[in-house]
Assembly symmetry: C2
Homo-oligomer: 208 residues x 2
Amino acid sequence: MTTNSLTSTTDRDNGDNGGGSAAQRDRRRRILDATYALASDGGFDAVQMRAVAERADVALGTLYRYFPSKIHLLVSALGRQFEEAVPRLTERPIPGETPADRVLYVLKRMARGMQGDPKLTEALTRAFMFADGTVSAEIHAVGMSMTSLVTHAMRGSDDGREITEEEIAVARVLGDVWLSALVAWVTGRSTAAETAAHMETAVRLVLH
Amino acid sequence: MTTNSLTSTTDRDNGDNGGGSAAQRDRRRRILDATYALASDGGFDAVQMRAVAERADVALGTLYRYFPSKIHLLVSALGRQFEEAVPRLTERPIPGETPADRVLYVLKRMARGMQGDPKLTEALTRAFMFADGTVSAEIHAVGMSMTSLVTHAMRGSDDGREITEEEIAVARVLGDVWLSALVAWVTGRSTAAETAAHMETAVRLVLH
DNA sequence: GCATAATCAGAAACACGTTCCAGTTTTGTT
DNA sequence: AACAAAACTGGAACGTGTTTCTGATTATGC
């Protein structure tokens, strides 16, 4: 199992998306848009496959052709959200004196973004947690984005150095804590403030 | 049917259900036993409410009277498993020279136990991750067990000292990592060996 | 011992994820 | 242009979690 060069500049669309005709790309976009809208409005339960299909103006069978399950659909939506967020967060140097400060800055900004749309976050997080092995590709992609984000924040700017094992380990641990905290928040077991405090503690612990 | 101490030997009912007649306690026990058996055999999907009811020899409506949802049912089962495991793991001094060694010992032993019954673990973990706010009580109990387990391992034996904030923070971070690793393993996204390696890295990172 | 309330069994019904199918439209090839 | 293959539509249908209903059974207070 490896962990490759994460801060890939490659924007490549991998198999599950890039190909296809313009009509197909458009359908896919409409489906993901409908998913966003429904999730943002009513959370996981409101993302009903019939409703998504109707809103995206495709038949139910077509929806299932593009996304073989509700989980795939939501995890793909989460993936797209990350794809959009990561460049926004990494394009300019990240403020902060120490790696801990910078990582916290990034994590908090991301948390704030998600907390601004709680229902959407609930839907996506839940899907992520419920996914089984058949979604490992999509999930791996999200994990990579997360790792890349954190390692990028640990250094202030994008020098060319190879990313070390240590950095990856730190990033993965922080990613795990972040996910758990997110789940706790999403399920109403902790407040946003508690989540933030917990993340801060974890970062200071791990980044000596 | 397999294996371990899960198939209740203890007949005692604990706090969250202690009340009620003997017949009610017996029904509850039968229901949880059926849940164990089905989960151990076929995992989350195999725990079907009709099947649980039939196996426990109660009507479907009765099952729902005792546990308002499948998630509640499974999370309760997980809670009982923890209740049984924690004393077994904390009753004697934990081997290991350093806190890191001892924590690893405990976590690995627990992981081994769960990996010995993968389907059961899958079912319980999924339920845990999918739970919403209405099961926060049960989930909080599990979280406390986990924290207590780790803090106990960090010290070798049970001296009377107050547990520090720092220790709790470390325990919570490790609990988060453990949970994420467990989810990754359960959903087939990582192997047992990878999970163990990841846990080891995290422990060494957090416990200097 | 009996009246009353609580609980239970059994079964039907509903909701939503998922699958399947017959017919139609779009796309690609020759 | 004609044909074949692939994709799409509309809708029915199935499985499983959940709810609801009715009549039996059991527990509880007098």
